[in-house]
């Protein structure tokens, strides 16, 4: 798929009727599009964006910083794709927005904060959007006694490696505990942040680098603890024409599989009430709804409760699509709504399966003093005793 508004989308963008289904939850009880709910101008609904993009294509509108701002004020959560009723159009809504962002970049209108993502990611000392010195992960390999060659690679992802190290370490301990034959690579950013913000120029190079590194260690399977990395490796590589024959697993998928196959069994209890936040990147973008739930439900002692909006109908955490870096205050406002919804369930733990969701939800939890514990599924599993059946 070529990311180019004029080439790929010209014939379908105008199909949007601006009926507004895209803004709602399934049952229309509330607006479920974070951007529309915040701004309330029709402009900031997906329908509004489709019409703006068509306006650019047919010359009725000129690029401006504000126009770019409207396009970037979207967490690309995909609620619109679930609720738009027009088949063979709804699947492309987020792609169209990302394609339009790529046009904004090409026309010199990428907002400054989002630009910084690319600058840091392409910096040869960093290769990550956080601006941290690149970790080749050799120390971690030594610490966890990981081999040079293995069947699996744990692709840590930048957020876990540079910001949510607890999650990374919990994943490493868990994978060791279940005796998975895995190792680490000197990974570079998976490119999710730069794809989501339309900065696609170096994407293929990064993708090819990571594939080469994975293959160098002889791995055929990749596990990610990050929903964004998972989506990128599974979906975006192919969209960019970077094909690979690697099997990609999100941690929740791997654990579910091992539980189903009887390879592992939880033997201690976790006596807390937990609710689950669906990350958009593995939820609406990939349809992984039941795998994590199946894992939670097999944890002895756990009381698992659902929030009102869940699965395809979930409220986004607000971190994705460049919103966290572009609009940090708004991003935590979006998470605040999710945390309040979690509290209504009586849960004391809001758990997710994405370090980026964890970051934003934790930031909101701290900022608004909401008193929940925000942890990843893998951090719960890390606290359990596990029987491994070889």
């Amino acid at each position: 798929m070529t990311i180019n508004v004029k080439q790929d989308w010209k014939d379908i963008v105008h199909r949007c009727f601006r009926c507004g289904y895209c803004k709602f939850t399934f049952e229309y009880s509330d607006f479920n599009c974070p951007s529309y709910k915040k701004h309330r101008f029709e402009t900031y609904s997906t329908g509004g964006r489709m019409w703006l993009i068509y306006g650019i294509i047919n010359g009725d509108l000129q690029w401006s910083q504000n126009l770019a701002n409207v396009l970037y004020s979207c967490s690309t959560c995909g609620n619109c794709m679930e609720n738009c009723r027009f088949d063979k159009f709804n699947d492309f809504l987020v792609d169209i927005i990302e394609a339009a962002r790529a046009e904004a970049v090409k026309n010199g209108f990428c907002p400054e904060k989002q630009k910084a993502l690319l600058e840091r990611t392409t910096n040869t000392e960093m290769f990550n959007p956080y601006g941290e010195p690149n970790s080749d992960n050799e120390e971690l390999k030594k610490k966890y006694n990981l081999p040079d060659k293995a069947e699996w690679v744990y692709f840590i992802g930048c957020t876990s490696n540079y910001r949510q190290k607890n999650l990374r370490d919990a994943t490493l301990r868990f994978l060791k505990k279940i005796n998975l034959d895995f190792t680490l690579i000197d990974e570079h950013c998976c490119t999710s942040p730069i794809i989501r913000t339309g900065q696609i120029e170096p994407v293929k190079e990064f993708m090819n680098y990571n594939i080469d590194k994975i293959k160098e260690v002889g791995a055929t399977k990749v596990i990610t603890s990050c929903a964004g990395c998972c989506r990128t490796l599974k979906v975006d590589f192919a969209k960019q024409g970077v094909n690979h024959d690697l099997e990609i697993y999100h941690t929740s998928e791997l654990v579910k599989r091992f539980l189903d196959e009887g390879k592992i069994m939880f033997t201690s209890e976790f006596n807390k009430t937990v609710t689950y936040h669906d990350p958009c990147h593995i939820g609406r973008h990939m349809g992984l709804y039941e795998e994590p739930r199946d894992v939670y439900k097999q944890i002895p002692g756990i009381k698992f409760v659902e929030m009102g909006r869940n699965r395809e109908n979930a409220w986004c955490c607000g971190a994705g699509g460049g919103v966290k870096i572009g609009y940090p205050d708004w991003a935590v406002e979006i998470s605040k709504e999710r945390l309040e919804e979690a509290k209504e369930t009586g849960a004391t733990i809001l758990s997710s399966t994405c370090p980026f969701c964890r970051t934003n939800l934790s930031d909101a939890n701290d900022k608004f003093n909401l008193g929940l514990e925000v942890i990843d599924l893998i951090e719960i599993l890390d606290q359990l005793e596990i029987k491994v059946n070889e």
């Binding site: 105008h14 009926c19 229309y28 509330d30 309330r40 101008f41 019409w51 409207v70």
Partner: protein, 454 residues
Amino acid sequence: MIKSDILTHLENIVGKDFASNNQEDLFIYSQDSGASLPRPVDFVVLPKTAEEIQKILRLANEERIPIVPMGGGMTLSGLTIPVNGGIVIDLKRMDKILEINEISRYALIEAGVTTGRLTAYLEKHYPDLEVSIPDAPPSATVTGNALIHGSGFLSHKYGNHGDMINGLEMVLPNGDICKLGSCAVSDYWFTRGPIPDLIGLFISSFGTMGIATKMAIKLYPKDNLREVIVGIFKEPKMIPDVISKITNTDIAEDIVFAVSEELIKGYIFLATFITGTSEEEIGTKTKILKRIYRKAKGSYMKVPRSFRNFFLEKPIFISSEADTRRGGGFEYSGNFLPLEKLPEAIEKAIEISRKYGISPSQVSRVIGKGHNVMFAASFSFNRADPNDMENARNALHETNKLVLDLGGIIWKPELAGQKLIIEKMDPSYKQLYKAIRAALDPNRIMNPGNWEIT
């Protein structure tokens, strides 16, 4: 006052985040999904309270700026696109459901509450009550739809949505706030009278008389079972008789009929909706309807589950009709017709559609036990194709003329349709309307260009 100063004033009233003259916002609010051409907008504001609207109207009076109120913006007739520029007031931030009175059966809501949200709210908290909603998308507002004299799935039983209004809070063109209906006398928004009924003045006047900020709308008891019984008929002339027979039985919740050459050429679908509290009741009503269909020389049609689900969804996903050209454009000539004129309207509207290369598609609803029929001939078009759009406009205009010739009245007409009505309107009606409008809005700020009677 220069534009930047006006924007500053508006920002001071509604907050910086909710007033705009950015090209992007003006672009979006300068057009709707119908076939009307875009017209320029100067400002868009999103007030939260009636008091903010008061201030906006006072500013507009001082500066002689046109004001255009907007609910869901789903009329498709360009009614929320300014004719002479000015300020579009998008009311959807006024979105509180203020009261549900279970005993007197009404909902008191702010003007921006959507049909989707009120329906979901009742479903969750008051499952034995329901509100009539149109077949428009759930983003249509309850108040906006009632004020354009909309209709919905309970209109056969209880009339148009305008008839279901118990009370209104209006901001008048001079900025005064006025309560209408029982709420003018009582704390209860339970009825329109018995005082002089001024509510009608604000229905179908398209914002020329003021801006609604609150509305009380009637709620109705809801049965737990609902079914649709579909029949097909060959001749349009059969329809008035079969409708009369169904309405005589008093068993229908809703009666909708459709012509669709895309689906089935040469037949008219009749969908009668029934409700009940038991399967036995549904079964009895179904048998009665099948007998009526048969006696009227029609046929009962067992429909696939997907078809049945389509009809039973609330709101019906009528936007699918908008997508037949895959081009994001949809317009329809909606009209109020005497039932006896329906067969002629069906046949002649089919001819008009064909003349403009549009596959004939009509969906109509019986209102108030057959007192009226809301007849709609649809014209989907491709927004990217100017000829397609022009064809839709021409078909719309010609169908509108047809309906007026048949003794009907165009519903929520676009500017050209309004002119057609005004040409036929009794002079005394015109004078009365003009005098009232001049008294309420001497500076002519309220949606000027609409209902322009000279």
